[in-house]
Structure formats: structure tokens, C-alpha cells
Symmetry: C2
Subunit: 462 residues, 2 copies
């Protein structure tokens, strides 16, 4: 495949900046597509790819060893003939001469590329809080962060989680399971605002143990420190301005991330309104021969067709496949947008969603319905509650978004994700034959019953 002779080998050389879930997937699929191309990966951290999403569970010990999160060893890269440079930071891209310059142990490495894939990830967004650089204040992004938090949590009593998104709540649950007293501080009026509408988020709120203080509509303003270690935190009610100060010896900042786009900007890649590198359905940037993958990118949301930051591991690997295959000369295109299918669980409750929240569907006329049912027929013991909310376009009947809270929420949401990807309307989808057996699911599952409700509402309108 890789030719000698008339054309330059280096045209086929693939250079990957960053070895997170995106980078490693690019490498893997580039190699699958072209067995002979030269593939080089530069990673500033000390480890090859590991599961970032697994970090909260490794901190609590639910995943017994943090290092088990490392999914691809240096050996794995060697075996498939990929050159990986750890602790190596790419500092400059010369896009005209198709070269990158990286720093490894003080030395500069120069490497030519035919195709460049930027997988520079994201950094934690740190809100303006006074004294935030004290010991005991952490953001969770890397395996080293997790190790430090784990060590620190052993001697901590009161943890404060700033930000009640997925990672904030995962951290709250995992630190709570270690016996810490927990406070959660969220600037918005409700938790999980990126994933669930307020009425659905309430179902999660009900599951948060009463011992945990949840301060919504609050921002953290400052910490007090003793010997450089955090000892107290002050939070302020955004509406009343009222302040509260309480003891805390561990603070986790989980207020989202910002894409790392410095290198991409340097070479003129178009940056979108979300702050991410704009990529197309092959995960190509606006610059020839340059791809970008993962948390540093933005793509369109499938449903509302607005730019969206990628930020979900499941999407990152799919972009990685697209970039890897295409960069190596194959063909693979992604759907025309992101479904944003996501899930998590905390305090014994599973949540999942697909498509935008109602707040992000304001350009559409949206009708919603919600069904609260059971995972099993009423006569079979052990059924668990499952609540599903569906958002339907009033004019077309198209399914736009679905949120689920309860048993196997994620697998039910996958079925709706399929319906959205297949652009099915509510009338078609609600007649779906779901699998039924008394120990497994009711004759009519919540999956279609919520659609019947939406359909009924729709028929009254139209």
C-alpha cells in the first residue's frame, strides 16, 4: 500500500497529537486501513490512552486499580508498529512544510507528516474563586489528578463538589461511598442541566442521600486555607446574595471543560462558536491534511443543527474511527450530526438522554410527554421504576430528544437514539414491537407507552 518510487513516503505519514481516547482510536483505525503507513503519536502525559470516564470509580475503589484504566499499553503500540512518544509536547506545527516540532526531555523533535490529527483534548474550566490554588482543591482530568484526589481523600472529611453535571455527581457519589461528608454547589437552578430537563432532574434529586447538601443557584466565591491547605469554602446564593461558609478539606471542581485549541489556532483552523475546532463528517478541519478529533472539536447537533462541543467519550472514538480511516486513505463518514446519547448513574439511579434538552430546542415547536412506569409487569416481583420523557416536533411528529431515569435507562435510550438517527416519527416508532416476557419487560414497554402519550397529545393539536 505504502508506495516508494515516484511519490514521497511522507505524504502517507500520519502524525497524531495527543493520545487520549481520540488519538488511540485514530492510530488503531489508521493502522487497520493501511498496514504500512508510518504512524507517530505524541502525548504530553506519562501514560498511553486510559479511560478518563473511569477515574471517579477508580478513586473510590469500585474499579480496584487506577492503572487498570490504561487500556492500551506501550507494547500494544509497538506490536502494531506505531511509534509513541510519551511526555512529549508538540509546540509548533509548520503546516506549509508539513512538520511538527515537539519537546521531549528538553530536546526538540522534528517530525514530518502527510496527515496530521489534532487530538489535543480539553482542560478543566476553573471558575473565579478566591484562593483556588490551595492544596486540596482539584479538577479531575488526568490519571495523576485521580491519584492525588484518592490520596488526599484518605485524610479528608468534608468534600465540596463544585458543579452538578455528570462528573460532579459521579464524584459526589464515589466520595460519599468512601464515607466523606459531601456538599454539592451548582450555579444553575437545577442539577444535570446539560442532560435532563428540570422535571426529570428532580427524580435524581430525590435519590441523593439527605446527608448530602445540594446548593443549587449557588456559586463558590472563596476558600480559606490553613498552612496552604483548604479548610473552608464560602458560597453565595445567586438570587439573594446570601453567603454561607462551611468546613471543607477537599474541593472538586467539575464545572466543565474548555477545548485545547492553541495549536489548531496557530495554523488557522476554523474555531466555532463553542470554542472548539470545527470538523466535518470525516473529522477534517478547515486546513488541508489536518484532522481533529475529540474534546477539542465541535460538530453539529443532529437534532437542532447547532454547533456542539463533542465532549463525550462515545463520540470521540467514533470521530477517531472517521479520522483514522480517512487519514490513511480509506472512507468512513459520520452521520450528519451528534445525537449526544449519554448516560451515568449515581446514588443507585441510572439516567440517560439523547438529543438536546428542552431549553436547547427553543427554535422548534416542541410537544413533550412523560411516562412513569415499571421495568416489569405489575404482577412480577422486582420491577423497578422507569420514567421516560419524550420531545416531539409538533409539525412533523419527529422524535427530537428523549430523557430516561430508572432501570436500564441507557439501553432504552439507545433505542430512541436509533429512532432519531433513522429520522422516525412518533407514529411509526410507537408501533415498535418491543420484546416481552414477564421476568424481563412488560407487554408494552415504557419505551412505546410514552410515545402513545405524545401521539395522543399531538392528535389533539393537529
Amino acid at each position: 500500500m505504502s508506495g516508494g518510487g515516484l511519490f514521497l513516503n511522507q505524504d502517507k505519514d500520519i502524525v497524531i497529537i495527543g493520545c487520549g481516547a481520540g488519538g488511540v482510536t485514530v492510530a488503531q483505525f489508521a493502522r487497520k486501513t493501511d498496514r504500512k503507513s508510518t504512524i507517530t503519536v505524541f502525548e504530553q502525559g506519562a501514560y498511553p490512552q486510559y479511560s478518563k470516564c473511569g477515574l471517579p470509580y477508580a478513586i473510590s475503589g469500585k474499579i480496584p486499580k487506577i492503572m487498570d484504566l490504561v487500556e492500551f499499553s506501550e507494547d500494544w503500540f509497538k506490536k502494531i508498529n506505531i511509534d509513541i512518544h510519551l511526555k512529549t509536547r508538540v509546540e509548533k506545527i509548520d503546516v506549509k512544510n508539513k512538520k511538527i516540532f515537539a519537546k521531549k526531555e528538553g530536546k526538540t523533535i522534528e517530525k514530518a507528516f502527510g496527515r496530521l490529527i489534532i487530538c489535543s483534548g480539553a482542560k478543566p474550566f476553573i471558575p473565579p474563586i478566591k484562593n483556588i490554588d490551595a492544596q486540596g482543591v482539584f479538577a479531575l482530568r488526568t490519571i495523576d489528578d485521580a491519584k492525588k484526589i484518592q490520596a488526599y481523600a484518605k485524610n479528608a472529611k468534608n468534600a465540596t463538589i463544585i458543579g452538578a453535571g455528570l462528573i460532579g455527581l459521579e464524584m459526589a457519589d464515589n466520595l460519599y461511598s468512601l464515607g466523606l461528608k459531601i456538599a454539592i454547589v451548582e450555579a444553575l437552578p437545577n442539577i444535570l442541566a446539560n442532560n435532563l430537563d428540570d422535571d426529570m432532574a428532580k427524580l435524581v434529586v430525590e435519590k441523593i442521600p439527605k446527608k448530602i447538601n445540594v446548593f443549587t443557584n449557588h456559586i463558590a466565591t472563596k476558600t480559606e486555607n490553613i498552612d496552604g491547605k483548604v479548610s473552608k469554602i464560602t458560597i453565595k446564593n445567586k438570587e439573594s446574595g446570601e453567603e454561607k461558609t462551611f468546613d471543607t478539606d477537599l474541593v472538586i471542581i467539575a464545572t466543565g471543560t474548555k477545548p485545547n485549541v492553541e495549536l489548531a489556532k496557530q495554523i488557522g483552523c476554523k474555531i466555532g462558536s463553542t470554542g472548539g475546532i470545527i470538523v466535518n463528517n470525516k473529522s477534517k478541519t478547515s486546513i488541508k491534511n489536518v484532522y481533529a478529533v475529540g474534546d477539542c472539536t465541535e460538530y453539529l447537533n443532529f437534532v437542532n443543527v447547532k454547533p456542539a462541543l463533542v465532549g463525550l467519550g462515545s463520540i470521540v472514538v467514533r470521530q477517531g474511527i472517521a479520522a483514522g480511516v480517512n487519514a490513511a486513505g480509506g472512507k468512513y463518514t459520520l452521520p450528519r450530526g451528534l445525537l449526544m446519547t449519554s448516560t451515568s448513574e449515581f446514588f443507585g439511579i441510572e439516567i440517560a438522554s439523547v438529543g438536546p434538552t428542552t431549553n436547547n430546542l427553543s427554535d422548534f415547536s416542541v410537544l413533550s410527554a412523560r411516562f412513569n412506569g415499571s421495568s416489569l409487569p405489575h404482577y412480577y416481583p422486582g420491577g423497578q421504576p422507569i420514567s421516560i420523557k419524550i420531545m416531539v416536533d409538533e409539525y412533523t411528529g419527529m422524535i427530537m430528544a428523549v430523557q430516561a431515569v430508572g432501570q436500564n435507562a441507557a439501553l432504552r435510550i439507545n433505542t430512541f437514539a436509533c429512532a432519531i438517527l433513522g429520522q422516525m416519527d412518533i407514529e411509526t416508532f410507537r408501533k415498535l414491537e418491543t420484546a416481552y416476557a414477564p421476568p424481563i419487560a412488560p407487554t408494552l414497554d415504557a419505551t412505546t407507552l410514552v410515545c402513545d402519550m405524545a401521539s395522543m397529545k399531538l392528535s389533539r393539536k393537529n
Copy 2:
């Protein structure tokens, strides 16, 4: 809605024959559609609708009370103004004069109808076995059968299950859980032949406890009885002709059912090649004003477009909705065929499938792929095996059928059912963003990984 005056009220009168899952759903949705119509239900049994699928679990006590299976009480019918006649057998239909004649406690009832819905169900198919009418030999169809089996099982030691389909295996598992020694006799070369291909059925075979003897390729030929009670059974190897006789004091016949079509035949309803009453997408028969619903009917299979007996509770209720709504003057059409989505679990393993087995796709050029994965990322403890097999049309890439064995097989199959209903091809579906979180599902779920394998095979062929 129901008019007086110029047209006969009786044109709107709805008469339902049979009050199984079909009949009760018809009644419910007819009432929802027209609050004023007269609805009358005739049921030859002593109970209003109950869950037939729940019977095996009630026998073992997993469902604590058999009578909990009765989902709709006589009171429920009264409350929504539906006249129900139990222990009443409809003996004749006069389709010309739109009347039925029923027998209740020796008396004949005559009832006029505007719309008639036949929900006459099915009866067990009893294979030719000598002395089969002994005590201790049962087919499981009614709540009374279940009560008798439950009582008999208390004093039984050795149960023989004839037929290794879903109900046969459900009975085997439930009787095994009561401490009985179990033998399973199946005429076909493998178990679950209606649901799984042989390679997938093997995964279930591996889970059947070694104490249970499974005789595939065997038919039961005779029983021996003491004092009218079954004491031994003889089975014959279909290939070698070799016979075996062993002790048994309980025999369950689970070799399928035959539609009850006597009444429908009487009035000239078209009967299909499967022996079921042919119905359309409104669940109408070939005779004006006459609908049929449930195990007595046949409809087309969505995928291979061949006639198929309905025979699944999940489909029966959907037909019931269609017949009920349309008979009462509303509009509701079913998809153009049956997906045959089904599931069950036995011996701790869940199975599910959608679409025909490979044997029933012989008219197509089918490519298959199988993936054996885990329900969780490898680094997260507690992942369970999940195997998925997919069948794809080689010429079009359309997903035709999927089988799954393992954790949450059913909910995964629902997603494929959606893909089939939406007529998605493998290239579209395999890019589905499934929900990912370490404690819930891997970044790439088995749901799409099996499709990647099929896609790769397909691209090598085309």
C-alpha cells in the same frame, strides 16, 4: 358519538369473542375510541384476562399468587361500561344477520353486533404419544392448567418436558427451581429453533444445569401409567431409532399451539397457510365487519414477507389496539408486518431475537456476523457476557434479523427492532451513538460492534 335517530344503534355494537390479552385490549381501546358504544365480551373460561406468559413463574412461586396474573377484574369491565359474560361459549355466528349465539349455563344467549372481533386464541398441539391422557400429563395454556400442574408438582419427582421452545424451557427452569429432576425432549436437532440459530442456541445449552437431561432429536412415543397416573415415558432417537424409557411422574407438553379457527371458518373467513385467520393491518378479516386478534390469526412477517402465526403476547395487544380503535370508528394501522421481537430467560441466561432465524431467510442472500463481548468496559468489575448475531441482506445491506444471548439481550434487541422497523441498513446503524458510562456500558457497545463486523464482511463481498 353513538347516534340515535336515523341509523341503527346496533351498527356500533361491538361484540368480542374471547377475553385473553387480545380481547381485553380490543375492549379497552374500543371504549377509549367511543365512550358510548355498547361493548360485550364473551369468554368461555372462568376468569377475565390474565397473563398466560406469567403461568410458568406462578407455578414455581416466583410470582407469589397465581391469581395475581388476572390483570383486569370483572369490576374493571363494569367501571368502563363493558358487559362481560364469563363461562360463556360462543357457538355460532350469523354473519348475515349480524348476530352471535352463545351458551351460558345451558341457556342460549343471542347478541347482535355491528362489529365482531374474534379472539379465539389457540389450543396446545398435542403430538401423537400413546397413553397421553394419563393423570400427570399436562399442557400449559390456562390458569386452571397452572393450578393443576402446581398441585401435581408438589408430589412429583421426575418431570419430563416435551418441546424445548420458550415455554418448554421456561417450564423446565421453573420446575427445576422447585427441586424436580428434569428431562427435556425435543424433536429438532437443537433447542429454541424458532428463536435462535443453532450456534446461538448452544450458548443456552451451556447454561442448562448438567443434572438436566436434554434429548434433542428425540420424540416421545408412549407413557406407562400406574393407577391411571403417568409413571414412565419412552422416547425415541429420530435418527437411530433407539428407544429409552425412564421414570417420570409429571409430563409437560410444550410443542406449540394450533389456532382456534372453527368459528371463523364457519363464516368463511380466509384461513392462511399457517392455519391462522388472515388479518390485515387493521386486524380485519376477509369478512365485512369481522376482525380477528391474537393467537388465532396470521399476518405477514415484516422481513421475509411470509405468513406468520402471531403467537406473541406483545403482538396480540398491538393487534388488539388496532382492532379496538378501528372497530369503534377510529383509525390505527399496524406496520406492514411482524418483527417477532421476543425474549425469555432460563437458567440465568437471557435470550432475545427479532426477525426470522437463518433457516427462515433462505430466499435471501444473507451474510451474518457474530460478536461476543461484555456488558461493561473490561476495566469495570461485574461485566456480563453478551453475544449478538446479526443477519444482513448481502445486496442491500438491510438488517434482517438479530439474535442476542446474555445480559439485557432484550433491550439490545429492541434497538435492532427499531432499526428493522425503520428499514435502516447496516452502514447507517453501525454509526449509532450508543450511551456510554463505565458502570453501564462500554464506549462501543456490542450493539454496534457486531455491525462493524458485518459491514467489514459485506465490503469484502461487494
